[in-house]
Symmetry: C2
């Protein structure tokens, strides 16, 4: 085959490459880097095009495109949500994403994002907790010990200095899996048999369960003062984890209100219930935690800017490294007007394998 | 590396694969197949989710996502438009697309679409001309001899039986390129030095020029009765090719009115000017050409369903063929809850090259 020019080639980070890159960098260091990258983009929040996600719903799931741009680069993520997939041994959520150059419209990166979304979700949680949790928080309750749990625990250790993680899941097998994966990583792991037990002494309570219907993982009387709740699992209409009464006495912090009002815990509240945008806390435009006894809540649903930050970080991380392959993805004729001639001339070159 | 399971692999059609597939099938046969595939999907137009494209504009271009779904499969195209790219030797338009299974949300195909868009645009034009052009049309004028011209000529030959193509471009070098590429393919090629000369005796007049501003490639007195105008080049706000007076006396046929009113030739007309949806002609719900003397106009802007049809056709065409490579794009842990464990275990396997 004739060699495509440099412009025709798009670096692709496969699942295998992403795993090796994460192991090469180290999971905790990757979490620190991603939290920094996301925080840097939250600081310049007004620079971004913020489009609602473009969703295609079916009876059993949803496929979404999540685009954003800072005027220099453009990124989008393709992500599906199909809770019934696990019954066939498939992932509930899979994702991939693309970063492109706004000046030319040419893609500059294609990456798997199932793993990268898990990383950026945990990094965002830890970044928010750094700004909102009580000072000197050292204990986190982790309620829901599924695919996101280990990432949350290690991000909170790396970014916030969490020393003890108290695990609880309705399925003890999930807790065992999570405890085994976290063993020997410098965290004190306590496996609990009730949610009440898990939150004992915790300054950070992370909920990340997979219930599709309105659920009440935390009731009002379970949650005392002086805690930060990191609610990760409620992320679509009809899917919530917290009792409404907790929301009513918490300081609520969100990513992008128009999206969170539809998808987050606050879908249980009036549409004008006051919430604070996290980026305004980070830029100092508004206060985060007001006092040590306050209950703060990060009502996390995941926003396109976090994916953009993560794609940009991976793109930078690839420079000089070998964790990608080039894809011949962009037709690049010598004469832009001669696309047809390029096809015909392909015949003259020897065949690819 | 440990081998990913079948679900983790997404077939990828590179630019080189697409060129070889087109040459393997034959360009005219590919045009016939694509025109049939697009027509079949136009026949079931109401089955589709029709979303407006999601555009991200900058000073010098646009990046768009064009999704659609028929409830069984989901497709989207990424496409940019950057007229100034040619100055740097880059393509004005590049594209790629993804086809996915609605039941699982898993992608089943990733394909280059710069070439495929050129093919589907020409196939759509020819399909429309089959329904709208005068019977026994044998001569086409091709005004604008850029990247789309050869595809238009061969699609009109394959689908409509065109025997003579009369070429005109403001740049004689473009006409020379087009004539050379079309030589020996069974068409009579006539190179013309004026647009007036090109349309002499033509029953189909195709305009496909790259002017960004309101242009008048065809004036009213140039166009007599009994012709079909296939207007391809006007495809964004501010970019038109026909004088308004032609539109006022033509029967106007469009793909998706909400999009065409913004992007097509009819942006020059009142927002309630009557137009006919092409799919309704094909299903027999409404009349196409009313008489031999009528001027019909296909105001083509390109719609997501055409890309969907093209992606589906390529996906079918790949079965049993070798024109793709598998990409390890979807994380597929043995236990869907153990994404973290999958990453850690990647360390145990031998490294990829």
């Amino acid at each position: 085959m004739s060699l495509p020019s440099r412009h025709a080639l798009v670096p692709f980070v496969s699942v295998d490459h992403m795993m090796r890159l994460v192991l090469h960098v180290g999971i905790e260091r990757m979490m620190l880097e991603l939290a920094d990258a996301i925080e840097a983009d939250f600081r310049r929040w007004p620079d971004f095009d913020k489009t609602p996600r473009v969703a295609s719903h079916s009876d059993i799931g949803v496929i979404e495109l999540m685009p954003t741009s800072d005027g220099q680069q453009y990124g989008f993520k393709y992500v599906n949500g199909h809770p019934s997939n696990t019954r066939q041994g498939l992932q509930t959520v899979t994702a991939f994403g693309v970063l492109a150059d706004v000046a030319t419209g040419y893609p500059v990166l294609l990456s798997e994002m199932t793993i990268l979304t898990a990383l950026r979700t945990a990094a965002t949680s830890a970044m928010a907790a750094k700004w909102l949790a009580p000072r000197d928080a050292r204990v986190m309750a982790m309620i829901g010990n599924g695919a996101q749990a280990e990432f949350q625990a290690l991000a909170m250790k790396a970014v916030c200095g969490i020393e003890e993680v108290r695990l609880y899941d309705t399925d003890p097998a999930a807790t065992r899996k999570c405890a085994a994966n976290l063993a020997g990583r410098g965290l004190r792991i306590v496996s609990c048999t009730t949610a009440e037990d898990a939150i004992l002494g915790a300054q950070i309570i992370t909920t990340c369960t997979a219930d599709k219907q309105y659920a009440t993982i935390l009731t009002d009387n379970m949650v005392g003062g002086g805690v930060h709740i990191n609610a990760v699992g409620g992320d679509c209409p009809g899917k919530t984890e917290l009792h409404r009464d907790i929301l009513l006495r918490a300081g609520i912090f969100v990513e992008y209100p128009p999206q969170t009002r539809i998808e987050g815990e606050i879908q249980q509240l009036a549409p004008d219930h006051p919430v604070t945008e996290l980026w305004q806390v980070i830029t100092g435009q508004t206060q985060g935690r007001t006092d040590a006894a306050q209950v703060t809540l990060f009502d996390s649903v995941g926003f396109a800017i976090e994916d953009f930050s993560a794609l940009r970080h991976i793109h930078q991380r690839l420079q000089g490294a070998q964790f990608f392959q080039d894809l011949d993805m962009i037709a690049d004729p010598d004469d832009p007007r001669d696309l047809f001639g390029m096809i015909c001339r392909a015949d003259l070159h020897s065949s690819v394998a």
